[in-house]
């Protein structure tokens, strides 16, 4: 019986900033078509982990394989081909201020698929409709949108090129609970519809349970727990329990200044 290889396989990932070791030997597999949520406190290296996978930061040690290819060792052209399969929703949206909404959404299509601007604009309209935004939004600029609309546009941009791999960095940060639930729902719908493999990082417990088939806890630079997303609140792991229930006392020590 042939075993399905993971879509992403990470081994011994280490990343330091000066004296501070943020990632200290991360081992992580994400299977094709599944979604994993990585939780952890602020400053524990969740975003660093995603940026290392996306080649936005260079790790100090370790391997990152996507579809069996060690992306850190690939020549630039082959690496670009691997990352053409990726979509990313940034924490603050990271929409391009100088471009209207439709061009933000179609940016990847224009860069990767060599479509005409008219075709890209038409496709952008369809994708915006999938995230609940009407055609009147397409010609607005990001600064003219509310926070929730910006998140939807950012999600539309992330899924526009039908990526095989989707990354979400704090997708519901700064949104009210209802809007957060709407964004979570859209993310789940998009991931299912595209059949993508997804990695989300968050410290929003509600979001983590909605989005993730599986969840993992990042603490002191390592993955200290991994289990089904539905068992986050009943993991039995003291680190996860303290974090998910927001307890002051426990194995996680916060460094507070006087």
């Amino acid at each position: 019986m042939s075993e399905v290889p993971p879509k992403i396989r990470i081994r011994g990932l280490v990343k330091s900033f000066g004296e501070k070791k943020v990632l200290d030997g991360i081992d992580l597999d994400i299977m094709p078509g599944t979604s994993l949520v990585v939780i952890g406190g602020s400053g524990t290296g969740k975003s660093v982990l995603v940026k290392c996978i996306l080649n936005l930061l260079t790790p100090d040690a370790g391997t990152i394989e996507i579809d069996g290819e060690d992306v850190l060792k690939l020549p630039p052209r082959a690496r670009r081909a691997v990352y053409a399969k990726v979509g990313m929703l940034f924490q603050n949206g990271a929409l391009f201020d100088s471009l209207p909404v439709w061009e933000n959404v179609a940016f990847g299509l224009l860069a990767r698929h060599r479509v005409t601007r008219a075709e890209a604009r038409a496709q952008a309209g369809e994708i915006l409709a999938q995230v609940g935004l009407g055609p009147e939004v397409s010609r607005l600029f990001p600064a003219e949108l509310s926070g929730g609309m910006q998140k939807r546009v950012a999600l539309a941009r992330a899924i526009a090129a039908r990526p095989e791999l989707l990354f979400f960095d704090e997708p519901t940060t700064g949104l009210d609970p209802i809007l957060g639930a709407v964004i979570d729902g859209l993310i789940v719908d998009c991931v299912k519809r595209l059949g993508s493999t997804a990695l989300a990082i968050t410290h929003d417990m509600s979001s983590a349970q909605h989005i993730g088939d599986e969840a993992a806890m990042l603490h002191e630079g390592r993955i200290v727990w991994r289990g089904p997303g539905t068992s986050l609140l009943t993991s039995g792991n003291p680190v996860v329990d303290q974090f998910t229930h927001g307890r002051r006392e426990g194995p996680i020590k916060m460094e507070l200044c006087d």
Binding site: L54, Y83, M88, A94, G108
Partner: protein, 245 residues
């Protein structure tokens, strides 16, 4: 520290230039950079040039009057403007206007993850943001300096003929009889170098921005100050190359 920074800037410049010869080319970004640098800088460069020409005529007239050399006003104005004041003042004005704007725009893109977003959308930020601006700077500044040269000479002409009693035809004859091709060409070469330096420092400081709004502010200041100093330093070097005996 200074050597390390200089090395980083040189590597950044080489990387930016290397993208100018490798496809894909972002023509829209180049046109945008050219319009921003050339067209929207026209008013400030034009006003600077015309007033500089006027002041130059006035100052040289009153100065030369001390040894009865007022007849040299036209040649002094045209040589000063084409060789020196046109490119340097246009460069300093554009550094303040466009260099600052470049650093602020790219710096804001850096601190709001827009540059990382470009990378995740299969777009090299150096190719998309930096290379078109470098090329735009090299082309925009000489165009502006042509305008500055004409308006600077015109400013001197207007003051000389209306206030200082020069005959218009004699003034123009004096202007063009002393002007040589090298005077204009050296100014345009300087302008191209200055345009490159302005774009380079704007892009570099913006690209290397760290922190939030404070970082963007610091990058903007650094872009203008470093570009201004480099313009003056390279002006000396280029003048030496063109005119030293």
């Amino acid at each position: 520290m200074l050597c390390r920074t200089a090395g980083r800037i040189v590597l950044f410049a080489v990387s930016g230039l290397s993208h100018l010869i490798r496809p894909p080319f972002h023509l829209r970004m180049f046109v945008r950079a050219l319009v921003e640098m050339a067209y929207f800088s026209l008013p400030v460069v034009a006003l600077t040039a015309i007033f500089t020409g006027m002041v130059l005529a006035l100052q040289s007239y009153t100065g030369f009057a001390r040894f009865s050399a007022q007849g040299a006003v036209a040649s002094v104005v045209v040589l000063s403007v084409t060789r020196e004041l046109g490119p340097v003042l246009a460069g300093l004005m554009v550094a303040g206007r466009v260099g600052a704007a470049m650093a602020a725009e790219i710096g804001t893109m850096r601190v709001t993850d827009q540059i990382d977003a470009l990378a995740t959308l299969s777009t090299d930020p150096m190719k998309y943001l930096v290379a078109p601006r470098l090329l735009g700077g090299v082309i925009a500044l000489p165009l502006l300096v042509v305008v500055a040269d004409i308006l600077g000479v015109l400013g001197g002409f207007v003051v000389s003929t209306t206030s200082l009693g020069f005959n218009p035809a004699a003034y123009l004859h004096s202007t063009f009889s002393f002007l040589e091709t090298i005077d204009v060409v050296s100014g345009l070469v300087k302008a191209a170098v200055f345009g490159f330096l302005i774009a380079l420092m704007g892009c570099y400081n913006g690209y290397m921005t760290r922190g939030g709004a404070e970082g963007v502010g610091a990058a903007t200041t650094a872009a203008v100050v470093s570009a201004s100093i480099l313009i003056l330093a390279f002006d000396y070097v280029l003048t030496g190359l063109f005119f030293s005996q």
